[in-house]
């Protein structure tokens, strides 16, 4: 029993060991291939920023014992709408607002079905993801929508301030804000209580359905923001954005120590989990693995990392 307690503590911090371990491993393996160079590290930051930002939102969702599978298609639709509004009006502010509004509306719809109608979030968001992706394909006619507004692309994805990519700044901003809200504010505590035991949260006067609604909205808005950043980074939007990232984001959050059974979440862990994913991607490419090999390896490593970090089931 004593051992089991120690084990739980160890599991909470194992993410940092994995993180350090992977960096060390690649530093040695890839020493002569420029893994540790500043430009490669900044590159990793750029590739990881959007995953991290989505992982921040997903942390709230899982902490409240819900799940969201629709955010990948939110990325696509928000990106497309942002790009279209930007092209049509030339106004960055309008474009951003339109993109975020897409996220908010979808979040509210998800939230209404989950919190008010009481359908499991798994089913609601699975269905929604089809609807959203269909809409994205339809409004974009399966075409890419290029952007050539330099201010927009600089702020939202492509720019560097000194040696630091703006994407990195966005990531730190989202991470710190998310951490503050989840760990330090009454709202965060209520989200965790809802996920930890929603009946007792209810008996404590917490508006459980409002909490569920909120996490669904937070997640969708952050996914929409990630969509905007993809648009800025790639100088355009396309309906394929985001959908491949769904599993990676969820894996990053779980590796980061957030419980799939609710009640426990760490935004910092999620961001580190996302960095692990990014480093893995980068390292496997630098190692010269083929795409198929990369997929297999990434899958394996995710399973191993998740089993090391997964908390024991409540009991």
């Amino acid at each position: 029993m004593t051992n089991r307690l120690k084990e739980i503590k160890w599991r909470e911090h194992v993410i940092y060991f994995i993180f350090t371990g992977i960096i060390l491993l690649f530093s040695v393996l890839l020493f002569d291939r420029g893994f540790l160079t500043g430009s490669n590290l900044m590159n990793i930051a750029r590739q990881t920023a959007m995953i991290s930002i989505m992982a921040v939102g997903m942390t709230f969702v899982l902490a409240a014992e819900e799940i969201d599978l629709s955010f990948g298609s939110v990325v696509a639709l928000a990106a497309i709408i942002t790009a279209q509004v930007l092209r049509a009006t030339g106004s960055i502010i309008l474009a951003i607002l339109a993109g975020l509004l897409v996220g908010a509306i979808i979040g509210i719809i998800n939230g209404l079905f989950v919190a008010k109608v009481g359908i499991p979030s798994f089913l609601v968001t699975l269905g929604m993801s089809g609807i959203i992706l269909g809409t994205a394909r339809w409004v974009s006619h399966l075409q890419s929508i290029p952007i050539n507004n330099d201010t927009f692309t600089f702020i939202f994805g492509s720019g560097d301030i000194g040696p630091v990519p703006v994407l990195f700044i966005w990531m730190i901003l989202a991470g710190s804000l998310g951490h503050l809200v989840l760990k330090k504010t009454p709202f965060g505590r209520k989200v965790l209580a809802t996920g930890g035991n929603k009946i007792s949260a209810l008996y404590s006067g917490i508006k459980v359905s409002r909490m569920k609604m909120s996490v669904m909205v937070i997640n969708s808005v952050l996914a929409a923001f990630a969509g905007i950043l993809y648009t800025g980074r790639l100088h355009g939007a396309r309906y394929t954005l985001g959908t491949n990232e769904v599993m990676i984001v969820i894996a990053a959050v779980i590796i980061g120590g957030t419980s799939m059974f609710g009640g426990k979440g760490s935004v910092i862990g999620s961001v580190i989990g996302a960095l692990i994913m990014g480093i893995l991607n980068n390292g496997l490419i630098l190692l010269g693995l083929s795409v198929d090999q990369q997929m297999i390896f990434r899958g394996l490593i995710i399973i191993i990392a998740v089993s090391l970090t997964m908390r024991e089931k409540k009991g």
Binding site: T2, L5, T185, R189, Y203, G205, G263, K314
Partner: protein, 495 residues
């Protein structure tokens, strides 16, 4: 063969570096009912969980009928003849009685399939052996049974393994008095069959009714092992705490029912309760005496916005209020200590302090963040005043003893600073000393002009503690008592 079915000696265990059991010796004779007694957090559940193989002891030996045995899981303990009924029920609600009883054993197979008919027959046999086959059908779904009957099913499930030792950890805590009587009959039957029973309870009178001997444990150390006939209740109560205990007496406050009631219910109706009229005046402790299933818990849940109100009015200080959700109830100054601490009262994986401030978290803001310092202060205040045994406000509630978890639920409601406290069996599983502490705090609270509505499965508590009492039967309040009543009067009236 040894006369002892269980002989544990020099048992030690620590959790997280904290030494919980110190060189514990514990013996039970074959065919006796043996009580394990001690205050909340003394180490009773821990000791029996070691005997049952749930926890691994750090050192010590356990011998069963004179044979030293090493086992590390409940399955191995079962094989050695030890079965346990846990403090918190472990049945699967959606399965039937028979399916639950033979969940782990399912010995009755036809090839790869479970032989449901045979299992059913055997389940029926078990039920008739403990004398409940007329009341419980093996095809009932467990979720449709009362807690008391579920408790009996738990026992039947344990007995399906043919144990020589049966461990019961606070089996009567949620039973009605009739159910307790039938449990005692079951225990007598088992004893006659030569089964030893380890019986943990905070109802000390029961020990003198059914136990042959007892072991007292305090702070993880064994104080004594005695035959029940050699000691008396007062001696036991004092020995539990390790000193003379003060007794409390409550002076009934009469003639206070005038002026504007703090809480008034006018013809309240929900799905389960009918035509409820009730008044609580400032400073008053009002009891509701009713059997399990009389609608008493539903009444409290209605006042707390959990159960849906169909018709009727709720007035606070003479003003009609809308209580359609628990957060509205809290806004109106009403809090509830719910019936089930683990399901309704606590977030088990939250720290002690986070649970205590859960209903007032919005009020604990400093700028936008939670004020940790104030949180800690509130938590420490209640840890001290309720004498919670914990490593500190940061300890996760899951690892507190049952009674100490209950104290956290009470603390949470007291912390909410409300005018009306609804108490659904607030001292459930709490030891006699802590019970007195809680009672004192509640009296204090009432005397400041607040109101209390109090339910207990112990009618003695209601009779001795409340200023006035309503009798509840089948969803209705049938009688109002403002004069002194005895426990026995109440028992008769609620039938």
């Amino acid at each position: 063969m040894s006369e002892y079915s269980i002989n544990a000696s020099a048992i030690n265990i620590s959790f997280d570096g904290v030494h919980i059991l110190h060189d514990v010796d514990f013996k039970v004779k074959a065919g006796e009912v043996h009580a394990l007694v001690g205050t909340n957090g003394a180490g009773k559940s821990t000791l029996v969980k070691i005997i049952n193989g749930v926890y691994k002891k750090d050192s010590g030996t356990i011998s069963i009928f004179g044979k030293d045995l090493e086992y590390n899981t409940p399955e191995e303990a079962l094989k050695a003849g030890i079965a346990m009924v846990f403090q918190d029920l472990s049945l699967i609600p959606s399965l039937t009685v028979a399916q639950n009883i033979f969940l782990q054993t399912h010995p009755y197979r036809k090839g790869l399939l479970i032989d449901d008919r045979k299992a059913g027959e055997n389940a029926k046999e078990l039920l008739s052996m403990i004398g409940v086959d007329t009341e419980i059908s093996i095809n009932d779904k467990v979720e449709d049974l009362s807690v008391g009957k579920q408790q009996i099913i738990e026992i039947a499930k344990a007995l399906s393994h043919n144990p020589k030792v049966l461990i019961l950890d606070e089996p009567t805590a949620s039973l009605s008095s009739a159910e307790i009587e039938s449990l005692f009959t079951v225990i007598e039957t088992l004893k006659k069959k030569g089964i030893s029973i380890i019986y943990i309870t905070h109802y000390l009178q029961d020990i003198f009714k059914i136990c042959d001997s007892l072991t007292l444990i305090r702070d993880g150390k064994i104080i004594f092992r005695e035959d029940t006939i050699d000691i008396n209740l007062k001696y036991l109560v004092d020995a539990m705490a390790g000193g003379e205990s003060e007794s409390i007496s409550w002076n009934r406050k009469k003639a206070m029912r005038s002026g504007t009631p703090l809480l008034e219910l006018k013809d309240l109706n929900t799905e389960k309760i009918k035509n409820i009229d009730l008044k609580i005046y400032p400073g008053e402790i009002v009891g509701i005496a009713g059997l399990l299933g009389s609608g008493r818990s539903e009444l409290l849940e209605t006042l707390f916005g959990i159960e849906k109100l169909r018709t009727g009015k709720i007035l606070v200080n003479g003003k009609a209020v809308d209580i359609s959700s628990s957060s509205k109830a809290i806004d109106e100054g009403i809090t509830l200590v719910p019936e089930n601490r683990r399901e309704q009262g606590l977030v088990l994986d939250f720290a002690v302090e986070d649970n205590i401030v859960m209903s007032i978290i919005n009020r604990l803001k400093k700028f936008i963040v939670v004020d940790r310092e104030k949180t800690g202060k509130i938590a420490n205040h209640y840890i001290q005043s309720l004498n919670v045994k914990t490593q500190g406000p940061g300890q996760v509630v899951r690892y507190l003893s049952g009674g100490n978890q209950q104290k956290i639920v009470v603390a949470k409601c007291l912390a909410s600073d409300s005018k009306i406290l609804l108490l659904d069996d607030p001292t459930f599983g709490v030891d006699i000393h802590a019970k007195h502490e809680i009672m004192k705090i509640i009296m204090d609270y009432a005397s400041k002009g607040n109101g209390v509505l109090f339910i207990s499965s112990e009618f003695k508590e209601i009779a001795g503690f409340c200023d006035s009492i309503y009798i509840m039967k089948k969803g209705r309040l049938t009688e109002f008592l403002s004069e002194d009543v005895s426990e026995d009067d109440l028992l008769l009236k609620v039938q």
